[in-house]
Amino acid sequence: MIPELGNFALILALLLAITQGTLPIIGAARGIPSWIALARPVVQGQFVFLAIAFGCLAYSFVNNDFSVMNVARNSNSELPIQYRIAASWGSHEGSLLLWVFMLSAWSVAVSVFSRHLPDEMVARVLGVMGLVSVGFILFLLVTSNPFDRLLPAAFEGSDLNPLLQDPGMVIHPPMLYMGYVGFSVAFAFAIAALISGEMDAAWARWSRPWTTVAWVFLTIGIMLGSWWAYYELGWGGWWFWDPVENASFLPWLVGTALVHSLAVTEKRGSFKSWTVLLAICAFSLSLLGTFLVRSGVLTSVHAFATDPARGVFILAFLVIVIGSSLLLFAWRAPKVGLGGKFDLVSRESMLLANNLLLMVAAGSVLLGTLYPLIMDSLDLGKISVGPPYFEAVFVPLMTPAIFLMGLGPLARWKQASLPELMLRLRWAFGVSVVTALLMPFIMGEWKPLVSFGLLLAFWVIATIFVSIRQRLHNSGQGGLFTKLARQSRSYYSMHLAHFGIAVFIIGVTLVNGYETEKDVRMEIGSTVEMGGYTFRFNGASPVSGPNYQAMRGDIDVLHNGEKIRVMQPEKRTYNASGMAMTEPAIDTGFLRDLYVALGEPLEDGAWVVRVYHKPFVDWIWFGCLLMAFGGILAVTDRRYRLKVHTKHVETATVADDKRVASNPRLSTGGKKA
């Protein structure tokens, strides 16, 4: 009964989505106020029905209803409750339902936080989001119904993939999807702007916070995925250039370009058609990622069970959504105009160069990801593209981008002077070169690549200092703290995010340069030395989990002869699927991680044990968090809070917005590049 209710709710949501995708857009074109006014209530109705559908699915999982195919395939009565809930989005069908549910949540957010926008604009934006929603709900109902029954019911479910039975996996997909789906808002704003032909600074200002929030979610989602791979897969890597990882990284790269390009469009009125194109691309790549994971065209650890009918459906959907938006772009963008002019050396030109570098990087990652598919379609053989390709392309492209990242925030808009910039940054450059040359000696061994990586990171940090120093110097009277408090949040948010990049680079550089790993045979009582630590193996003993049996190793870690902790890595075998899983033990530290994983058992209680010493590895994820915090800080900037405030004072809206635009400190305050 409950699954049928869910199915029915999904059908009702489809009908509302169709209404949302048609009437408000037509209403906006023809000027029919009642159709325009329909947008908001329909969006909210759709959200309610999707929430009911999602609740019904979760209910079936929680209550082990193995007469539902999806539950029988992806759950098990022994599965702990939190993973039964997470299993609702562990399958293809469930995750897609989560996708549309989030899309409707974003739509509701737009419908609520858009009181200050013209009604026609809101109608068009919500209409476009409705059309996307129609496609996905149809996809669910036609090819991937999560409520399909399995009759007669199974005795027992086949269990959720043990890899997904982990707290990180419970939140990683929702975060990532919030990011993917969030770009639909920027996309819808762009399409609405193309339809109406009104593409001004106001349009960019409305899109910006939405895009930033989506970008923050995507950043956190990717970070969680990488962190999960690190501690769950058991071989200590944090990024594998797997097709599905790439599928999430592509929208991130383009989204990063978009965040910056929107800043230029808002402040200088430039890059208009470029910004629109990026908004279309960011969301298109999110959709493409969905296609790659679910159609079975690429092999990946993430791939869902595949079905050609699904592939055909998503491809058709991609063609309609992306094809029509690019066609609309080709038709309307030439009329948009180019906006403000700028010199060869200016902040605009640097941002444009960085945008291009990010796009080229995204293009090369896309090419590497699809290359096996291209070769196979041309009948040139089955190949796979691995990390060496991606590293060889990505690092050289990012190097000038990072260099410009330091330069950009210090350059003037419109026209900057290169000699003057060089003069202002000579100390920053000198300090970063010297530090980068010396630092590797502290780590114990000088390596050219480490020095180079550190140079990029220190350059970013040094330029941030220079920027803040000059900014304070130019902000009038007062003590240090008054001056610091006088800067806008969006200014700090930019530097915080850039600082995150520097921290990330330091982590990647040092862990690649100095990590050590040993695969050793350990008898009971034997020891292994690594990075100043001694690991003593005390044997492994059987333990039982809720739905698995495990062998748990017991390893003492000694530092300077003193026992600092016990590490207990496990080798699990899950009851239902018989799948074996390696559960490493990690000692997390500010400057290093100790990482121990059990390999295979040998005779006499000895085991093959893998031991890693990973300096600075946590800086990788900490850097990502700083970037995300930067994004969060940006959307809490005064300009946006002012708007929330004006929401309550409807009549004051226009005046307030004008004040924001005309107040020089506020409008130039945000240098978020």
Partner: protein
């Protein structure tokens, strides 16, 4: 106008490749065992644990080895076809009950029908490793000399039976 059409053109090329890609099956890595002697195994029967079956016992006849498990939902899709194929008597089907529990497996067969001449058990998946099993179900066509001639990855379908498996069996038996 032309330069604004470039993104669309690039997208059309991409769609072309994706469309072709849909008809390819990257997961179906050609098995290195095709044309090679089937790995030898000896294991307990599912129904009579005290009896053993050795794969060499099947020399001299064409047979199918079907990898199945009671926890495998896709196995249910192909199961009616296997039952029908067994009834027709064209080819004997041997089951490899993969990483399963005996009571659940027996219960499953009594509910959905038992197409297998016999099923052997592989609770640890050791035989599966020799055969390169990476998903259940899989079906192997093995000829009179004990050589693997075809591997079906995923459920057997009417299409794969009629187009590939049955003609191959006829050819091998003739």
């Amino acid at each position: 106008m032309t330069r604004f059409l470039l993104p669309l053109a690039a997208f059309i090329v991409l769609v072309g490749f994706l469309a072709v890609g849909l008809n390819l099956k990257p997961r179906e890595v050609p098995s290195p065992l095709i044309g090679k002697p089937a790995p030898v195994f000896q294991s307990q029967l599912l129904h009579e644990p005290e009896r053993m079956l050795a794969s060499q016992d099947n020399l001299g006849k064409v047979w199918l080895l079907n990898v199945w498990a009671s926890w495998c939902v896709s196995c249910r899709e192909e199961h009616p076809l296997l039952v029908e194929l067994a009834k027709s008597g064209i080819v004997p089907i041997y089951g490899l009950n993969y990483k399963d529990k005996r009571d659940l497996a027996l219960q499953w067969l009594s509910q959905y029908g038992d197409p297998y001449t016999v099923s052997v058990v592989d609770p640890e998946g050791r035989i599966g490793i020799d055969y390169g099993v990476y998903g259940v179900p899989e079906t192997y066509v093995i000829d009179k000399n004990g050589v693997i001639r075809h591997k079906q990855i995923g459920p057997v379908t009417i299409e794969s039976l009629e187009k590939k498996i049955l003609p191959l069996i006829k050819e091998l038996q003739g």
